[in-house]
């Protein structure tokens, strides 16, 4: 048994909500520790569109969620402008879409207080030339793009700066239950295989889809169903604005710009598994076939990557009275016989702050602390460690650096060595161990068309040169990294992407023979 860490609140899950709670509590002066079984945004927080909803998407299905999105969206634009690109958004319909829905849309938006401007079809196509020529309706709303990685990193960094602690690759092994309480959490570091104990007054599970599993450790049953959603990343940015299909939420109906690329999705597939999930070939084809109805170019563009996340949905069976909003589920397990355990799950990226606020309110109530939430007013600080996730940021730093003693390690996303160094030192500062995956999480490494073919090798040799790695750590990390990248590649390998992935296989299997000694 390793060390014991004492804290007031243990937050499990380093997604948007978890880091949001960590910051919220830290701001209220509460000592908080955050653990994640892999690293930041490993779950749905890292596998979504990066869309800051105007709310218009939910006006028909869930007016309350729509209004939450609207107010939270406006708020986030105020407090975290550096994580957000205010792109604006369009809702467009093509022949065959439900005309009654289209006709009703402006009224529903008005009812939820969401600004929505009808557009002349010609104007719409002028604003976004990629749109189909067959549009039958178009509206403008105030959607925006948000960088979920930057958001979580900045939330975490602010929490860390205020006394919070973060343990990555720290997996909850078990809760030590005493009477009606959790007395401690036994945690395993999956990298070092060390076990340690965290003792806290309150335990918060912000584990999204894993909420049921974590709760079961405390002997609590949360009935959950999982819905897998896949998304595709295009090689280039296709549009200036967010483009939504004007219909009841369905497959392949939102295109969101993410810096220099665009993201089209999603699908919705019921799944039982949480760990071994991949975007499937069928899903990829479904998204493309649906997406190209509103944006024809999606039919023949090169795609860089597919990825998927799991939407956690708490089964409606009987728990409705305990949820504060239909948008998300905040569960106080005192009623289940565990006094100091709270679960927050479901919800949307757009409302992460509200979820964190409500959760922290509940935590503080339990702790008997009366300080009020500050995240509504206090801007999210911008830190150096968070700047490398943004697509295109490296261009500003590196492209014209012929005078600087710096060089590009990742060609596709133009990540310079200095960026890698600063990320490595920020990981080190947090007593983590840098490897390709943890660096990739905090930068654009491997996220370009080559998906890590040669940047991985360049970064590794750079890390070895800097003495950050020794022995066979590099090649082991490379195998993990390549297999992680592969999850998002194998379903969309045709055309040029297949050519590029064959080059990758030629290098890593053909020459380096990584498959021969792989531990798997």
């Amino acid at each position: 048994m390793g060390k014991t860490i004492e804290t007031q609140v243990l937050v499990i899950g380093g997604g948007a909500t978890g880091t949001g709670i960590a910051r919220d509590l830290a701001l209220r002066g509460v000592k908080v520790a955050l653990i994640d079984k892999s690293d930041l945004n490993a779950g749905a927080s890292g596998a979504n569109h990066g869309l800051l909803h105007s709310g218009a998407r939910y006006v028909s299905s869930d007016a309350e969620a729509a209004m939450e999105c609207r107010s939270e969206g406006l708020l986030l634009k105020q407090i975290a402008p550096h994580c957000i690109e205010e792109t604006g958004g369009l809702f467009v319909a093509v022949p065959g879409d439900d005309e009654a829905y289209i006709a009703d849309f402006p009224r529903m938006c008005e009812a939820s207080g969401i600004p929505c401007r009808p557009l002349d079809l010609k104007d719409a196509m002028g604003m976004e030339p990629c749109l189909s020529q067959d549009l039958i309706a178009a509206f403008e709303v105030s959607d925006a793009a948000i960088d979920p990685f930057k958001l979580s990193i900045e939330n975490l960094n602010d929490a860390l700066g205020r006394g919070g602690e973060y343990y990555d690759h720290s997996c909850l092994e078990e809760f030590i239950l005493e009477h009606d309480k959790i007395a401690g959490a036994r945690v395993l570091n999956t990298k070092t295989r060390e076990t340690f104990l965290i003792k806290a007054d309150i335990y918060v599970s912000a584990t999204g889809a894993w909420a049921g599993r974590v709760a079961s450790c405390a002997g609590v049953n949360i009935p959950m169903v999982y819905s897998k959603g896949s998304l595709l990343v295009t090689g280039q940015r296709m549009a200036t604005r967010v483009i939504n299909r004007l219909r009841q939420a369905s497959d392949g109906d939102i295109l969101v710009p993410g810096g220099v690329v665009s993201i089209i999705g999603t699908t919705s597939v019921r799944t039982d598994s949480l760990d071994k999930i991949f975007p499937s070939v069928d899903e990829v084809d479904l998204i493309i076939n649906q997406g190209k109805q509103m944006i024809p170019a999606l039919g023949n563009r090169r795609y860089i990557r597919a990825y998927c996340g799991v939407r956690p949905l708490v089964s409606a069976g009987g728990d409705g009275d305990r949820s504060l909003s239909r948008g998300f589920s905040l569960l106080d397990h005192a009623g289940d016989g565990v006094d100091n355990f709270i679960t927050i799950t479901s919800g949307k990226l757009t409302t992460y702050r509200l979820m964190a606020e409500k959760t922290s309110d509940m935590v503080c109530e339990k702790l008997g602390i009366s300080s009020a939430c500050m995240t509504r007013d206090l801007a999210l600080p911008q830190t150096a460690g968070g700047k490398w996730t943004e697509p295109g940021v490296s261009l500003r730093q590196g492209a014209f650096s012929h005078k600087k003693e710096d060089h590009t390690l990742c060609e596709c996303e133009m990540v310079p060595a200095s960026a890698i160094d600063s990320i490595v030192s920020s990981i080190r500062k947090n007593s983590g161990k840098p490897d390709l995956l943890s660096i990739a999480l905090r930068s654009r490494l491997g996220k370009g068309p080559c998906q890590g073919s040669s940047c991985s090798v360049r970064v590794l040799s750079h890390l070895y040169d800097r003495g950050e790695m020794t022995g066979t750590e590099g090649v082991d990390g490379l195998r993990r990294f390549l297999n992680e990248r592969w999850k998002g590649e194998h379903a969309l390998l045709w055309g040029t992407s297949l050519a590029q992935s064959s080059l990758k296989e030629m290098i890593h299997c053909g020459l380096f023979s990584l498959e021969l000694e792989s531990g798997e």
Partner: protein
Amino acid sequence: MTFFILLSIVLFFLGAGLVYRFQDIARKSRFFEKDQDTWAKKIFDLNIKGFFLNTLFQIKLFKAGKLRWLAHFLVILGFVYLLIVHAMDGVTSGFFSWYQPGIAPFRFLRNLAGLGVGLGCVLFLLRRLPRFRTNRERVKRKKGDRFRGTASILLILALIVSGFLLEASRIISEPRFDEMVEEYSGLDEDSGQMDLEAFWVKNYHLVLKEDLSSKSIDYENAASLNQEYCLDCHDRPDEAFISTPLALGAKPFGNWLARFRVDNVFYWLHYVIGLLLLAFLPFSRMFHLIAIPVASTRKRIRPQSLKKNMGLLDLFSLTACTNCGFCSEVCNVYPNFQVTGNGEILPHLKIETVKTMAKKGLWDARTVARLRSGNDDCTRCGRCADICPSGIDLIRLWESADHLMTSLGCPDNYTQVLGTSFEQWTRQDLFPKDFGNSSLTSGLADQVAAFENCVQCTICTNSCPVVAHDLNQNDLGPHQVMNLLRLGEKHMATGSRMVWHCLTCYSCQELCPQGIRVTDILLELRTQGQKTAGQIKLSQLTNQGSDK
């Protein structure tokens, strides 16, 4: 006495004007560095042969255009004669004691010279008519400039015409005759003045108020009187082959002319015009009379040996430009003007702008930016300087203008590109992002299909001689330029050294395993980048201007 005062004033004007012009050029010109030590050296660095050939025989003009040369030669020859022999007759008679303006051959020569100058001027004017201009000459010129040129010609013509009118009116003028008789003979009514009058009416076309036909005239006495008092200075006027016919034509109005002393009016007119010409010489187009000889003494130099700024004498020679337009007619990059419509490509327009810029600096951002682009188009082939009738070293001027513009913050596109920061290249106001707009533009760099197959294998960069040559200075390799295109940063790609240093050797394109037209794209970016760099430059210059 009056003449003398007037002449003094005019000469003062002339002198002061010349001094003003020269020091104005030297003082205000941004070309000229005061502490240049080349001044003294340059004094001895004269082109004597050029001076003679070009000033006296206008050899360059002869090569450039025969008709213009003829016109110039007529005017210059006639004018020199008139100036020396006629206007400065006091001096002339000092050398040739037998000189008298009224005797042969001077009368004839004066008329001949006047005719020459007049003809020349008429030729000048004719050439200014639109129908006689070449296409290139029709290119817009500044109005003031054309006016100044025409005004000078008209003034000279007026001087000549007034001279002929003066002579003609004097031939028939009785009051003038009376004054002369009074001054030189002392004759009176009794001592044969009437005889002499009659003699002059008969032989010298004098017109009298009273009719002498009824009087008895002693012609022999008249002839001897004429012999005694007049013939030294006055031959029969018939050899004044222009003035005499004019006088004959005016005879019917002789009395009327005499009554108003029109001869005196013409005299003053002639004199005043002459003085005016002299006084305004430094400020009119005629200044080239002085500037060209100065310019012609300068040895032409080649860009290789060029110092940063121009010397004082070179500056004077700038004013020798007569805007004749020969330079533009032979200009190597005239087609660029036809395509772009930028008049600052044409030397004869460019030189005016350069002169203004030399004085006023960055007075108008747009014009300077246009001048920059025009001067950048220039290949320095030297044809303009070769043909320049004024002997201006235009190559040197263009090079100096280059330096001047750079020092004023308006560098050439290449320098501009290398000095432009990321922020400039991605300025949204200049280059709005047009995601997905690619179908609307036709260049390779705008078509996703042209570069999306790039797999970042870096073969292009590895095979690039520019990269190999400039390892520590080059910023992006070709593969990175392709990647910037994928990332939607076309303008930023345009700003990379790679694009501007590319030798178009096509190694990268030949070797590209994905068949991407790498070189073609680089070349296209550079071509389009000329315009883009211009936009950035203009915006910078405008800001600079508004800051002041």
